[in-house]
Subunit: 411 residues, 2 copies
């Protein structure tokens, strides 16, 4: 078992250690939920205060030009591109992940009218599957969604498939899909690939262009620390520009939004994936998170997320084994995303018991405990401490305490 | 011509006068652009500061429950309902106006599969028409968009029309459509009506249920002072609940979002018009604007917006006549929205000249000057002063000054 001094020396040698000071860190908690909602950068308060009092409050409508609100989605997307292995002109910040999925699903199907199958993984993140079903309702033709286990996706890639939709990191198990291999096979068969990298960006290496991805979406409120419900993004590889376009033809995606032309002319490249007027406060808060993340080395972020996860697994493994908690994530760090998932029948109560002791993780149906290892906000020391608390909590069978009993789900 | 004392007494008798203090009012300008971006409530700064430091910054992921982020869209929609003549359970805050148009256009077409025509007005707000075209691209069947002049809409309502899409207040002329008459005829023919009330709410009387409207969308950053790009809303009359549902089937519109079910079950009523995770900062800023507006009497807001517009028209009419500036809006206040539009060949330069003197209106292609009369933020005295500046600016032929010459459009 790794000792205290080894942990201290890891923190001492951590090239990302200084980022920690850039975040507001509430006392008394160890925050292992950065895979769900990232922490707030301290600078966000200053930026938003300025957006309110100076920009909206004082300069009012003129801020669209004077403070370049109009250019903010493309500007922020350009910064984000480096974090996901894309070129700046291939990324646009807009709307939510769900809505961006729809744009790309419909856009891809319309660009592949002769193919009738959308392929996806059983148990993938629900909104991804829901959006496919919704798109199929609207779309003409007898298209269908084919669901297979993640492990069977490669074999299910056949020439009748228009589009493969897949999360790179599984939201429950944290398993990382083999993006490059899937893209390679898909491309050989003329299948388009649409990746949801919400759980990837800022936590695992993402090289969309190197892997040969066609399309991608992602959210910015997890490891990118963009704030609750921060606007999401779209990636369209340059080779598809002009061919795959958004069916959500809003005025902000028009080639000349302020010409108020009667007919729609899509803006070139990825710019037509903008739709309506973006939520400026949330958008400019997001920029602070992106600005922080791009100061960090992408490989170092992935390495640290993995190292923190490995440490947590190592330190909790004996207790997990003793009490019947199973590791639901790949033990091998390179196969795992930024979070570690454990399964336990009383998982909900255990999660609540940990929260009561200041270790904030989360719970996903039916019995998954998730612990996220955000590389910019955590230390190895904190993770070791969280593992200790986890072990103590298990040792005390805290899940038996009725106070942690399951409440009704939010409906 | 109305005298100074009459204007002073109007302000003295204005039941909405006290709202003015609730807004940050930059010195040296008269803001006549509340029809584009409303002013910032002073309280927004405090609220957002708290959302940042206490909610996101400190309580982090727990804020979804502890501060009811999860319930915010429905809560805010419930407050908004009273401002638009709807029941709370018929309104949902979500996404942008453009995206909400798409949801309802596709949702309505799927509920009316046997009808092939969408009817709209020539020259209506571009994004409304663009979204229809985009929806038609995705939708199966040989549906088409039929465009007729606003005045010809009533006659164009025929039994092959699935849906009429119309802005209640024309974004250029400010002309108010006869909602009740159109709804009545549409309903008799089985045609659904979808109203864009972006330019209406907070400025003209809107009684969606009384008028018999089926569907509506609107934005919240104009007269509702919700902030730049504030989330928009959807109205679905109760009689359509369960029948017209959103094709943008995001997890937040699921009956049980956190059950993470494989299949999509739409939340009941209007709740399935939520889609992805909402942008919390922009959403909670919006709530401040709505809270202010609902303290005001709806009829008083409409009456004051009209009174301010009437005053501006009256005070500028002689100069307009002399210099060839034409009134593009109905002179009769009850036929007019919250803004007044003038047409002038050198409209762009005139608009810039006015801005240089602190009178902030805006310009819309090809030659429309728009002046908005936000009832919560303006006084009669300010409007009279703005009219004076307008007259002086015209008298000096300020539009001939090369400094105000037209720049390239934002593209």
């Amino acid at each position: 078992m790794i000792g205290e001094s080894a942990i201290t020396s890891r923190d001492a040698g951590d090239p990302l250690a200084h980022f920690r000071e850039a975040f507001l860190r509430p006392e008394g908690i160890i925050y292992l939920d950065g895979h769900s909602l990232g922490m707030m950068p301290v600078a966000t308060q200053t930026v938003i205060q300025n957006v309110l009092s100076k920009q909206w409050g004082h300069d009012l409508i003129q801020s669209w030009n004077r403070h370049d609100w109009i250019g903010a989605p493309a500007r922020i997307a350009g910064k984000l591109a480096a974090l996901i292995g894309a070129n700046p002109h291939e990324v646009m910040v807009a709307d939510s992940t769900s809505i961006n999925l729809y744009k790309l699903i419909v856009g891809a199907c319309l660009a592949r009218p002769e193919r009738r199958v959308i392929l996806a993984a059983e148990g993938d993140f629900p909104t991804d599957l829901y959006m496919i079903h919704g798109a199929l309702k609207a779309l003409s033709g007898d298209r269908e969604l084919k669901l297979v286990p993640r492990a069977a996706l490669n074999d299910a890639l056949t020439p009748d498939v228009a589009l493969l939709v897949l999360t790179q990191v599984d939201y429950r198990s944290s398993e990382v899909a083999e993006m490059e291999a899937l893209c390679s096979r898909a491309r050989a068969l003329g299948v388009l690939t649409l990746w949801d990298i919400s759980h990837s960006a800022g936590a695992v290496p993402v090289s969309l262009n190197k892997a040969g991805a066609d399309l991608a979406v992602g959210c910015c409120y997890k490891y990118l620390n963009g704030g609750p419900g921060a606007p999401a993004y779209v990636f369209v590889a340059e080779r598809w520009h002009g061919e795959i376009v958004s069916p959500l033809q809003g005025w902000m995606g028009h080639a000349a939004p302020f010409a108020f032309e009667a007919g729609y002319r899509p803006a070139s490249g990825v710019a037509n994936f903008q739709c309506g007027t973006p939520p400026i406060l949330s958008l400019l808060a997001l920029e602070v998170g992106i600005d922080l993340a791009r100061q960090a080395d992408v490989a170092a972020m992935a390495e640290k997320a993995r190292g923190l996860g490995d440490l947590f697994i190592e330190l909790t493994a004996p207790h997990c084994q003793k009490f019947g908690v199973s590791l639901a994530s790949p033990a091998a760090g390179e196969m795992r995303g930024g979070h570690v998932a454990l399964r336990f029948p009383a998982g909900y109560a255990l999660s609540q018991a940990l929260i009561a002791r200041g270790v904030i993780g989360d719970f996903r149906e039916p019995d998954f405990l998730r612990f996220g290892f955000s590389p910019l906000t955590l230390t190895y020391g904190e993770v070791a401490k969280a593992a200790n608390i986890f072990n103590e909590t298990i040792e005390k069978r805290a899940w038996d305490n009725p106070v942690f009993r399951r409440r009704a789900l939010v409906t």
